[in-house]
């Protein structure tokens, strides 16, 4: 039968060996991390973004690299999934994109801070995570379909923001009406007024007032006005 001193030797010996292996692997891992994480791209802006996220505890609602809380979307690939325009809008006015949904804190970030966070997410998305997050195996994700749709003259802001709620050509969200043929339905002046502040045109509407600058607004109005119904195109 096993004696107490043999049991003690098992404990001490086993611990010493595994600890030695663990420390060696740790050493090797630290040799590889700079390459795998693209440490050369860790600019001051990216670092600032990381610390901003840390100081505000974004991981208390979100996960990043799969670590954090399970209340809000995983952020590792958010740059690829949503794009910079969407992220800026989300950080400036979190309620805008998902009115009446789960809430995110509004931090009133300055433009510099928003850019730092965007840069951080761009960096994070490129770290080699051994295949995480995995591509869905049972069907293609909705967002990828939208991005893959022909979008030659689509303004960036349209394919990143408007499609979360509106469909065009059968692809996109269903919160608002499909925008096929909207250029026939609505004229440019109305569109501009609407996009500037939907609530002012139609109080109580579920379409949010989005933080769009003049250039984006112009692009959108031109683009939307060009969405004619087939009948009108044929004429």
């Amino acid at each position: 039968m096993l004696s107490k001193s043999a049991a003690k030797a098992f404990f001490l010996g086993g611990t010493a060996i595994t600890l030695a292996v663990f420390l060696s692997l740790t050493w090797d891992t630290f040799q590889q991390i700079p390459g795998r994480t693209n440490a050369a791209a860790l600019t001051d802006q990216v670092k600032r973004g990381k610390h901003l996220g840390e100081d505000n505890n974004c991981m208390g609602c979100h996960t990043l690299f799969g670590e954090g809380a399970y209340y809000a979307p995983e952020l590792t690939k958010v740059y690829e999934r949503r794009g910079p325009v969407f992220i800026r809008s989300q950080l400036k006015d979190p309620e805008a994109m998902f009115p009446g949904q789960r809430k995110m804190t509004n931090y009133h970030f300055t433009d510099d801070e928003v850019e730092a966070l965007v840069a951080f997410f761009e960096w994070a998305g490129k770290v080699d995570l051994n295949g995480f997050p995995a591509k869905p195996t049972l069907g293609a994700p909705a967002q990828v379909l939208v991005a893959a749709a022909p979008s030659a003259q689509r303004p960036q802001v349209f394919s990143q923001i408007c499609v979360t709620c509106h469909a065009l050509g059968g692809l996109g969200g269903t919160v608002g009406p499909a925008l096929d043929g909207v250029g026939t339905r609505l004229d440019a002046a109305y569109l501009e007024k609407w996009l500037k502040d939907p609530g002012a045109v139609k109080p109580g509407t579920k379409m949010p007032k989005l933080p769009l600058d003049d250039a984006q607004l112009g692009e959108l109005v031109t683009f939307l006005s060009s969405q004619k119904t087939l009948k009108e195109v044929a004429q």
Binding site: K4, F11, I33, F65, A69, Y71, G139, Q143
Partner: protein, 464 residues
Amino acid sequence: MKFQSQKVAWGFFATCMLLLSLQVIYGFIMGFAHAGYDGLHSVIPFNAARATHTNLLVMWLLAGFMGAAYWIIPDECDRELAWPKLAWVQLVALVVTGVTAIIGFHLNWWEGRKFLEIPRPLDFLVVIDVLLFIGNIGWTVWKSPKKSTTSMVLFFGLLAAALLYLPGMIPTDNQTVDSYWRWWVVHLWVEGVWELIMGAILSYLLIKLTGVDREIIEKWLYVIVGFTFLSGILGTGHHYYYIGTPRYWLMVGGVFSALEPLAFLGMAIYAFTMAKKGGRTHPNRVALLWTVGCAFMSFVGAGFLGFAHTLPQVNLYTHGTLVTAMHGHMAFWGAYAMLVLAIISYTLPLMTGRKVYEHASAGFAFWTSNIGMTAMTLAFAVAGVSQVVLERRAGMDFLTVQKEIEVHFVGLILAACLFTVGIGTFVWNFIRYGLPNAPLKAGGERVVTPPPDVSPGVPAVARS
């Protein structure tokens, strides 16, 4: 109770009761937010509720371990604590630091690193506080001629836990490095040195409650903690699959973490065997129930549910979903919360001279909280598996999936109500035990005979 200074344990245990109650309240806040009722968002946003919930948990478990050490070490070493007054000062300092941290969380003052949210300046206070604690029990052990295996394992477990807090304080600009060190604290605590503490406290309770020979119990203690480190140290790799670390961790972490349940299985078999073997029937049956229950539930929560998502092929899809929350609840409950409740159940009658454990409510608290926690785990499991299938496998949008699984959080809240009834009963019994003022007795604390001279209405005095 053999020594006057053991009384300080009561202060730590009372702190546990208070923090546990608060933890449950913050759990409800998050449960409701997940179910779609986030009315408190502007006052206590989700991230504040979460940091408070988990830090209260860690804090009350640490307070429980400290209380246990302040009780066990004098008993095992056969002498008074080195500096009993310092122990009280250390308790007050711990509570003040903790309360400051929690208020800070509500004012957006923290480090956004899961489980290590306590802001940097307070980290230093925690370290100093823990050093005072280690010094106090260390000196007590050092000064004593008796160095039992149980007390040594307990001491070194606590010392290692204190040292492992330090890697969490290494500053870095790289998210991957940040995460690498964070696991040295989080994983090497719960699946490493805390298991040492758990093994030691369980051994102490089994020696006291079953009367099985110390030599046999302590021999198996070595075997179990041997398995713990053999699997648990390299098992850290199960957190290094997908954070930007090399691919070989998939192999190393997968193999060694798959062996981790053995240590928990060992712990469960050990407790059941010793409880059956022990001829003596200690009158405090409820303390034995918590002790054996702890060994069993830790196997279910940590061993079984941990194994369920530890292989890299599975973890690729479950990583960072509610499946982790399912495992986290049952594991923390079974292994560490029940352990602290077990040592409290055992020591209170000895400290206060009352025998509330004879009352049916003591068993009721055990069963209700355990059934409640099991049901909560099931609710998290259904929500988690649905999330994995819909979001990770079928590619549905995050928020759409969250809407789908809201109903399971209604289930979670119902289960949590049951759990809370059990915990409420436990806390109520703690209050009924009253303050620690049992007369000191040397040795022979297993014999509890009703004293001849009790007047009706006055609780019987447990001989200790």
